[in-house]
């Protein structure tokens, strides 16, 4: 029970830490809204020509755009989560202090990242979404059950998102500078999560591949549940499987790193 309280405190700390920078949050809301505006017009043009593209109607495409803007920072799809700090701590050798703590490295950072994600969802995600839903004709389910099922998928997406970013962060133990690795992963993630275009619009074989990758758990999976396109149980199973695989791989890599790697620093 004591351990549970420790990680809850870490998560709360993560939440409050990001909540401190109010101007930065407002700036983020503004930027996400501008990007949402640009995307929503291009999607509307696209869906005007092909009204049922990817199985969505125009209102569903509008909702998809604003969900993407709400999730970009929440799930740190193109970086910007706690992994930046972890990478820096590995690079400078400060991670040695973290390893001395009577807490598990992975759970500690997972808790901190969940706290951050919940703040970003409430602080940065909700406002652009509400703006989009008010200004454009968006599809919003009316039954609470769908919203509840959607929130479960968001929670699983947070786990998968952290799983990917933790692996990237741990690569710093071997590469010493994780910048290049991070950059590559964020680019891939931005594209493969469907931030640019919903994955069910991707043609043929490419579509099948991107839908099987872990990034499809981030935006596409929760969006499909909200838009009434995916069976919740099958979606949870897919997301859960990726979460287990990625977090498990993180655990293996972590034990390899702490056994074999000499920490940086003088």
């Amino acid at each position: 029970m004591g351990a549970g309280r420790l990680y809850a405190t870490v998560a709360l700390g993560g939440f409050r830490r990001y909540a401190t920078y109010k101007a930065a949050t407002a700036a983020g809301v503004f930027t996400n809204t501008v990007f949402g505006l640009i995307l929503v017009y291009t999607y509307k043009a696209l869906w005007e020509l092909r009204p049922h593209l990817g199985g969505y109607d125009q209102a569903q495409a509008v909702t998809y755009v604003w969900l993407g803007q709400a999730f970009l920072s929440t799930l740190a799809i193109s970086g910007g989560g706690v992994e930046d700090e972890l990478m820096e701590r590995i690079r400078t050798g400060d991670v040695a202090i973290d390893l001395y703590r009577p807490a598990d490295l992975q759970l500690w950072w997972l808790a901190a990242d969940l706290g951050r994600a919940f703040f970003q969802l409430l602080g940065r995600g909700v406002l652009p979404f509400v703006f989009g839903a008010l200004v454009f004709p968006a599809y919003l389910p009316t039954d609470a059950g769908t919203w509840a099922a959607f929130l479960v998928a968001v929670l699983l997406a947070m786990l998968v998102g952290f799983g990917i970013r933790y692996l990237v962060a741990l690569s710093t133990f071997w590469m010493l500078d994780g910048t290049g690795m991070g950059q590559m992963t964020w680019l891939l993630g931005y594209f493969c999560s469907g931030m640019l275009l919903p994955l069910n619009v991707f043609p043929g074989g490419l579509g099948t591949v991107v839908r099987a990758l872990p990034w499809s758990s981030l935006l596409q999976a929760p969006a499909d549940i909200l838009l009434g396109h995916g069976q919740p149980l099958r979606t949870y199973l897919f997301q859960g499987a990726w979460a287990v695989v990625l977090l498990g791989a993180g655990r293996l890599l972590q034990s390899a790193a702490t056994r074999r790697v000499v920490v940086q620093g003088g």
Binding site: K22, A27, F30, V34, I38, K44, Q183, L187, L196
Partner: protein, 266 residues
């Protein structure tokens, strides 16, 4: 002209420093190339489902994309590091630049000069070249002359946005992300045809923040397409004047911002 010399010296120093880690340079340049490459892949995926977007064909959209990407890429290469100013303001390291006998703007602009940003320019040039090879433009002397004028003016307009954004950081500090909405958001907006967007949005980026002069107006003139606002095509020739006015205004904003700087600390 002392500014240009200082800029050259500092940029040269950063290039030498980057070249000390050649492998990292190659990787990050490739990364910068791929980042923008994915943008264009998304557009190509859209065109795998439709034949025209807002009435513009793929080569025509690629022409817009190329002009926007090259102009923005050049501005980002020359002056893109200015978004680091926020950090300097927070930790007070701007003071070091103030005591040096060289223009502060040149020092800030050349700070951490990143040659890897050539990746973005290269990618934009390739798309622009492809578009030109596919388009059937009746090249007259005035249309040919407008091409280099457009690229240079576009670069100048984006430079002005970067400088104005930096000036804004003196006031906003934590809200530095707002400028991303205009720099990265601006170049994303301009990748799509103006006919896709709401008239008010087009009016805003034509008359208020004249990003439309980067490519929408010149490209409409060169391709002989009507501009959504019923403006005369000859307005495209005002592009260099608009760029000069933007730079002048941004310069004034920078001076005002720098004068208001009161350093940090207790």
């Amino acid at each position: 002209m002392a500014g240009a010399r200082v800029y050259g010296l500092i940029a040269g120093m950063w290039i030498r420093s980057t070249m000390a880690y050649r492998a990292s340079f190659v990787m990050t340049t490739f990364g910068s190339f791929t980042a923008t490459f994915f943008d264009f892949v998304a557009i190509m995926l859209m065109f795998s489902r439709v034949h025209a977007l807002g009435g513009w064909s793929l080569p025509e959209v690629a022409f817009l994309y190329g002009l926007s990407a090259v102009s923005f890429g050049l501005a980002d290469l020359v002056i893109g590091s200015m978004d680091r100013l926020g950090r300097r303001l927070r930790d007070g390291t701007l003071d070091a630049l103030l005591v040096r006998p060289a223009p502060v703007l040149a020092q800030v602009a050349a700070d951490r000069f990143a040659l890897r940003r050539l990746g973005r320019v290269t990618q934009g040039s390739l798309v622009l070249g492809w578009a030109l090879s596919r388009l059937d433009v009746g090249w007259t002397a005035d249309r040919l002359l407008l091409m280099p004028l457009t690229l240079l003016s576009g670069c100048a307009i984006f430079c002005a946005v970067f400088v104005a954004g930096a000036a804004f950081q003196f006031v906003a500090q934590d809200a530095a992300e707002v400028q991303n909405a205009f720099t990265y958001g601006g170049t994303t907006l301009l990748q799509y045809p103006p006919s896709v967007f709401a008239k008010d949005l087009v009016r805003g980026v034509t008359f208020l923040l004249p990003l439309a002069f980067v490519n929408w107006l010149p490209a409409s003139y060169i391709l002989g397409r009507p501009y959504p606002l019923d403006l005369p095509g000859r307005l495209a020739w005002a592009t260099p004047l608009v760029a000069a006015a933007c730079c002048a205004l941004a310069g004034l904003a920078w001076r005002a911002g720098l004068r208001s700087y009161r350093s940090t600390g207790s």
